[in-house]
Amino acid sequence: MTESDVSNSSPDPKSTESLAQEFRSTRVRDAVLVPILAVFTGLLIGAIIIVITDSTVIDAWRHFFDDPGGALLATWNSIRVAYGALISGSLGIVEIWQGLQALLHGQGGAALGQAMIPLAESMTQSVPYIFAGLAVALGFQGGLFNIGGEGQLLVGALSSVYVGYAVTGLPWFLHLPLALIAGLIGAGIWGAIPGLLKAYTGGHEVINTIMMNWIIISLSAWLLKVGGPMSRGKLPITPEVLPTAQIPQMFATQGNRFHWGFFLALIVAALVWWLLYRTTLGFEIRMLGANPKAARYSGINVKRLYVIVMTMSAMLAGMAGSVQTLAVDRWVGLGFSGGLGFDAIALALLGKSHPLGVVLAAILFGTLRNGATRMQSVARVPIDIITIVQALVIVFIAAPAIVRWIFHLRTEGEAAGPIFTKGWGS
């Protein structure tokens, strides 16, 4: 996709019109239909996994020949309860409708406020996804695979939280930016290391970023353990961020955690779009991703660019951690990142590494993840089902041929995906 963008920028003299039209139609279909079908198929297989691991359903199918209807009903119920909880826990459309009616009948907005919580929470959960997804997408655009989001966002969160509780006596308009900048710097340094290694030694960024993840996980265990440098007395968590460094939440309703960070995430997404498609640096990044050799021959300082892309990518991932802690959690504990760095890969692929696509994909997965929490408590389906769905989505996006084969779509030329497998360097 990046490749076609770059090659398209040079005008083709013959039949530009019809070619462009044809290109647009396949491109639109590939960009919209394939991701939708990929998510749909992922959820479908997720449903199958839920059903075949449900002991009630298995029992019902054991007695299939005595009671075939019962078996089918049990299967249907299992899916209905699980995905029903997923939907009501993430959107709550029915409750919102009832709340609206209550408001119109002059019964006050309390019910509506309560009903808005699931939807608001979905948006809240999308915020770190947007940042982390943008991080991986930016790396993809530059031909770098940043799997280190997990560690980078932990570094970002720890740096921000440290400034948030250790620096005192500042007004909020200084303290909050300072905490955010601390996160940016921390995560940036954490990402610059694999970037430098990639540029100057050829060490593959995939393994190096994963190693960096394990390093910060070990170090954070030391920082946060009881009696460690950042622990809160007898608890293995950091002290709470001071109110002056907190990102304010927007609604007073108890349990509604929606905060201004959501809009910050959208602004950052717009900035990333502007950087990629409206600046020279962005053009160089996309060229590096599409064809590193061509980039080198055209005089771009590839090594410097690797470091820049990796650092910026890590900073975006760090924002995910910083904003999440400053706005929602207000402290950091062990196991903070919880797989977010990996989810981000699915988001970037799903969004075709385009900032708008990433934002939409992030909102979708934030919603799914939020609903999955309800699904876990109501239907007792472990939240990891979402991780499985994400892995399937990655497979289907990376191999659109599988989706086309399942749904009998016509093939009209393969859109080239990002390419990272270039040996181990060095």
Partner: protein
Amino acid sequence: MSASVTSFTSSDSYAARKERRKTIAYGVFFLFVAILIFWLFASNSEGGVISTMKLNPVTKAKIIRVPDLKLPTLATMIIFGVITALIGFYQVIRGFKNVYLWLGIVALMFVFTFLVWATRGKSINLLGILTFAVAAASPIAFGALSGVMCERSGVINIAIEGIMLAAAMMAVIVASMTDSQWLGLVAAILTGGLLGAFLAILSIRFMVDQIIGGVAINIFALGITSFISQRFLQPIPGLNSGGVFKRIPIPGLSQIPIIGPVFFNHTPIIYILFLLVIAIHFMLWYTKWGLRTRAVGEHPRAADTLGINVYLVRYVNVIIGGMIAGIGGAYFTIGSVGRFDENITAGKGFIGLAAMIFGKWTAVGGFAASLLFGFSDALQAKLQILGKVQVPIPSEWLLVIPYVVTMIVLAGVVGRTVPPAADGQPYEKQ
């Protein structure tokens, strides 16, 4: 003409100067290590203190006993420090022919002095560390062997971590259900083969970018194992108690002092590893299939022209590679602790890939590199036991060592490594 000659000589001297600078850099590094030995260790020790290294197993097995190593702490350090400094001076002035060998020697001396310092006035069971090092190295070595199988045929397998994770869980489930670790091992191998086949189909049939395909399998494995763990293993503890393979000392070999207990008193999984190292080495370099594998990994088009079925070779190698990773996965559960925990592999699969690169894509080299990683693991575990007074370094810092070493290895500090020429490139028949 004379101009071209001078340009040759000048570029020649440039290369020589670069070489000279590198030589001096290594020498300075060796001197730096010597200073570290004096500054960190020797200055913190007192005279008259003895460090004891035990070289006999704790069990009362009937083997030939060797006397314990009793070293005067301070003297040992001074001697090692001086030797390191001499090596450094020689390197700066003259330069060793094989600098990497001396780098290894210096590193070894540094680690040994560290050990002597950490055990000052106490005793440590060196044999125990070495034995545990071999066990801890085994999953990394399986990962490295799996990588060798796949990458020699030109497919990058970054899914080793996920394959190990899934296999570890299947092993413990089947072992718990059947009360047989051997059946658990078979289940692990089958799981590994299945996921290997999946990777092969993605990367060969669908030509998915191999890194993306591998990452997808890793995420899938993480998701499905956590899912099943929460859904079944936690509510039904009977499913998560597969027991552990028993140690089987090999008659005769296990009697040899030091080497016997370190290498020949282990669970069958470790012996399978030894056999596999030999088998894969032999297969790669002395059989027709090995020649084909290497041909496909270096130049698939040429191999195809000669009538070799590129796809078949790659499918078979990647599936076998998956099975090997599966055995490595079994180590985590039925080979060591007997139960499955979420993300129990903790990045060992990736470290295995680093070991493969370190070992220059050979079975024996990968195994040797794994032993290094295993040793750092074992050291870390032992130092934790020695306690804070002996080793005033937080144990979490020591946990970081294998990961840092991996990054240093990848950076190519220890010699250049050359992967198979077609590593990671999908092949399209014309």
